[in-house]
Amino acid sequence: MIEFRDVTYAYPGALSPVLNHLNMSIEDGEFILVVGPSGAGKSTLLRCLNGLVPHFYGGRFGGQVQVFGDDPLEKEPREMSHVVGFVFQDPETQFVVGTVEGELAFAMENHNLSPLLMRKRVEEVLDQLNIAHLRNREVSTLSGGEKQRVAIASVLTLSPRVLVLDEPTSQLDPQAAEEILTTLQKVNADLGLTIILSEHRLERVVQYADRILYMPGVGQEPISGSPQEVLQHIDLTPPLITLAKELGWDEIPLTIKAGRKQVRRMPLMAEILSSEIHPSTAGSEQGDAPQSPSPITMENVWFSYNGHDALRGVSLSVRPGEFIALMGRNGSGKTTLLKQILGLLRPKRGTVRVYGLDTSHTDLEHIVSHVGYVPQNPGSLLFAETVREELDFTRLSHKLPKGDYVPLLTQLGLAAHAESYPRDLSVGERQRVALATILVADPEIILLDEPTRGLDYVQKRSLAHLLQKQKAEGHTVLMATHDVELVATCADRVIILGDGEVIVDGPAREVMAGSMVFASQINKLFRDPRFLTVEDVLHAVGSRKSPS
């Protein structure tokens, strides 16, 4: 059993504690989901379990923690590794030795286990996690999902009682995330391992959890209870649950299947679903565009990295003011396509034109005066002392005068942070600062690469709102993403790439409604192109109710 008694902790130099008189207990074999907004202390709580807090970070610690009879305060993380296996967020940064089998053996070697026992455990864990075929591979050659499974395997070889995972799927595509979560469910069920997982994508994981621990904010008391109980009381909920609450369903469904049962009980919904699809809501091509010139055109573009074709005959034309989502598996060519538009990569064959400029024969300087690009990792952009200086830097680089940034920062919810050090901000805030550094030059085209990585629902909602605003102002937006919910909310058109080729290109509603993988939760619930988001459903329900 795990017990926190009156735990208070503050990081070195922090004025207020992250954890404030925290009390909780976790039973053996439970699957606990830790949720809450970014910066609420989820990672800190998890790190208390193996003593990384306070041994690794320092700071002030009060209270008591007991993990299956061991006290992480007394013991150090390395001694606790027998009891607590810890898996981190980024699959890239937790490997030491480079080969899969080497990684699996590393912890056991540190604990001086006998070679015979090591052999046995390595084989068992390889089979348990279904990664025996990867045993001789170099870790650097694995996909994100495979890396994360190796990371889990590498702590399981010590046979810990608890597996703690700090947002293990936030860097992965939906398929890889699914792999990880089913793996966790399996080890929880088969081995009876206690699992404590922090996660933003509730829609994927909530069905597996026995209990949710919701951390509302820095120093505030957490709420704990069954998934249904907790989700009833919090704002950070996936679309299915938000809809259930809005429609006042008596039971909160945790899966699409359970949701369908509830839908069947609603005569009004049945009536709406059986009515004819109105052409305006079924989604159609925008009719007003052909006159205006296309800001981006790609004609039969081929590109290869080290002999591997990353783009194969891609042709597309973007209309001004369009919001396009680029979707597809990791490695399907999304980022390569964005870099082609920027002129950072040049096609081996074919042409890319941005406002008529052929990127193969145009200086980057001319292209970037039209196009802004927010990379996957906002940290790649931020280097200055304050947010204001970051914005000045972009303006000056574009040979524009410094300006008044208050309206932009207010719009992005960053008004209070103009003088803050960008790297001290939360993940969501940093993402918005990166966006601000691009928007401040007022580019006509905005390119975004995975803008929702590591963002919670509230941050995602505010990002979606902001991007819609950009579109309304006439900006053309191209966004590479795995986030189907964001696409359902914002995009007009979806392009799905597969192995460097355009597989599907069409209006968002049509494409998402017709897809098995890229459908939003609400669309999976109704399987009807009229309903992609909670708003779509509420709107339909509202308009049915009001005339009658």
């Binding site: 193996n50 990384l52 690794f56 150090e76 993380p77 390395r78 001694e79 590794s81 027998h82 607590v84 810890f86 981190f88 980024d90 890239e92 940064t93 937790q94 030491v96 030795v97 480079g98 080969t99 089998e101 080497g102 590393f106 912890a107 056991m108 070697e109 540190n110 604990h111 001086n112 286990l113 006998s114 070679p115 015979l116 090591m118 052999r119 390889l126 045993r135 001789n136 650097s140 702590v155 010590l158 870099k339 950072l344 980057l364 300087e365 970037v368 196009v371 802004g372 690009y373 990379p375 990792n377 940290g379 790649s380 952009l381 931020l382 280097f383 830097f393 972009t394 040979k399 030059a441």
Partner: protein, 369 residues
């Protein structure tokens, strides 16, 4: 990895020693051919990475020739002359200098090729597992650094691109700040995450307890070893005519320090996981390599003139060739021959698991719980 890391290590040593001992172009050519056979077999897997390295090696070789010819004006066979008034490079350009440059470049290229082949055949971690206990920490740090470099380069490229798209131009050193700051901070963040991960997997624990007396003895021995090294180097540097006593003292100091490291290293209770096994082929490679090493070391000690080659007068321009030495050197091609003769050319380690199986316990393995 097809063969045991130790047999490959012995092979690499056997290939390196003659290359360092002789400038005889015929022996160097035999070595380069034997090693190149081994390299070619691995080219499909890691050739791309090492190909660039070897191309740089070839460039280096090509540059050595004019460099030697322009700066060394010794020799009888003059190809042409440059005006004496030209600083450094003025004077006769001789055939001897061109040949010596070519041979030196060949030796350099051979060393690089041996290094590339060894790296392509041996896994870093397998090598790390075979380092003596007291060198484990240092080797691990090196191994992490090796994996860190490509990550760092990739992230530098991402940052550079992102800043360029933001309108920034990298022209002067001052313009590098938007590249260096994110690179430094992301590098540090990554290092902290790795440290957390290592600590969470039990790294750095399990030190055997040591008595007060043992601890004092170790400190005293460290101090003596360091003082010995210092005095030894001082004596040999200030009395170059009679440097022997100095070297002896420094050597004793060094041995004492190594002893302390060994004792301290043995305190870390750590076991080693092995799956590679020593096979008959490994014995053949090791024997061939040992033979090359033994014959060439004996030749160097007993008849150094057999290995020497110096094209400048009064020595002959054409190299000597001893068929026995040449034949022995060709034994370096044994791993390549074994590979060709082997009925299945697949990697040995990928055989299906058949556990539990008697583990190959390394002689370094310590007490178990």
């Amino acid at each position: 990895m097809r063969h045991h890391v130790l047999s490959w290590s012995l092979w690499a040593l056997a290939a390196l020693m003659p290359t360092l001992m002789t400038r005889n172009p015929l022996y160097l050519l035999i070595t380069v051919l034997a090693v190149a056979l081994g390299y070619a077999q691995h080219q499909g897997k890691t050739g791309a990475a090492w190909g660039t390295f070897l191309r740089a090696g070839l460039m280096l070789w090509v540059l050595t020739v004019p460099f030697n010819a322009l700066f060394v004006h010794h020799g009888d066979i003059v190809i042409f002359s440059l005006p004496r008034s030209w600083p450094f490079i003025g004077g006769p350009i001789t055939l001897e200098a061109v040949i010596y440059g070519t041979v030196s470049g060949l030796a350099l290229f051979t060393i690089l090729l041996i290094f590339a082949t060894y790296n392509a055949q041996v896994s870093h971690y397998e090598l790390l597992r075979h380092t003596p206990g007291f060198l484990y920490q240092a080797s691990l740090v090196t191994s992490i650094a090796i994996t860190f470099v490509p990550q760092m380069l990739a992230s530098a490229n991402d940052i550079r691109e992102a800043q360029m798209v933001r309108g920034h131009k990298f022209r002067k050193l001052r313009d590098m700040l938007p590249l260096f700051m994110p690179l430094l901070t992301s590098g540090l963040e990554r290092a902290v995450q790795l440290a957390e991960s290592m600590e969470s997997r039990g790294f750095g624990g399990n030190l055997a307890p040591v008595s007060w007396r043992q601890a004092m003895a170790q400190r005293l021995a460290t101090l003596l070893g360091l003082v010995g090294l210092l005095i030894g180097f001082f004596l040999s540097a200030y009395f170059p005519q009679r440097s022997q006593p100095g070297w002896i003292i420094a050597g004793m100091g060094g041995i004492l320090l190594l002893g302390v490291f060994r004792v301290q290293g043995s305190r870390v209770q750590r076991s080693r996981y092995h799956r590679s096994t020593w096979s008959g082929e490994d014995t053949i490679i090791a024997t061939a390599s040992a033979l090359v090493l033994a014959i060439f070391t004996s030749a160097k000690l007993l008849a150094p003139q057999m290995l020497s080659y110096y094209p400048y007068p009064p020595f002959p321009l054409t190299p000597d060739f001893n068929p026995l030495l040449g034949g022995i050197l060709s034994l370096l091609a044994v791993p390549a021959l074994l590979y060709e003769l082997s009925p299945d050319n697949g990697p040995r380690l990928s055989r299906p698991p058949s556990f539990p199986r008697a583990p190959s316990i390394n002689h370094q393995t310590r007490t178990y719980q």
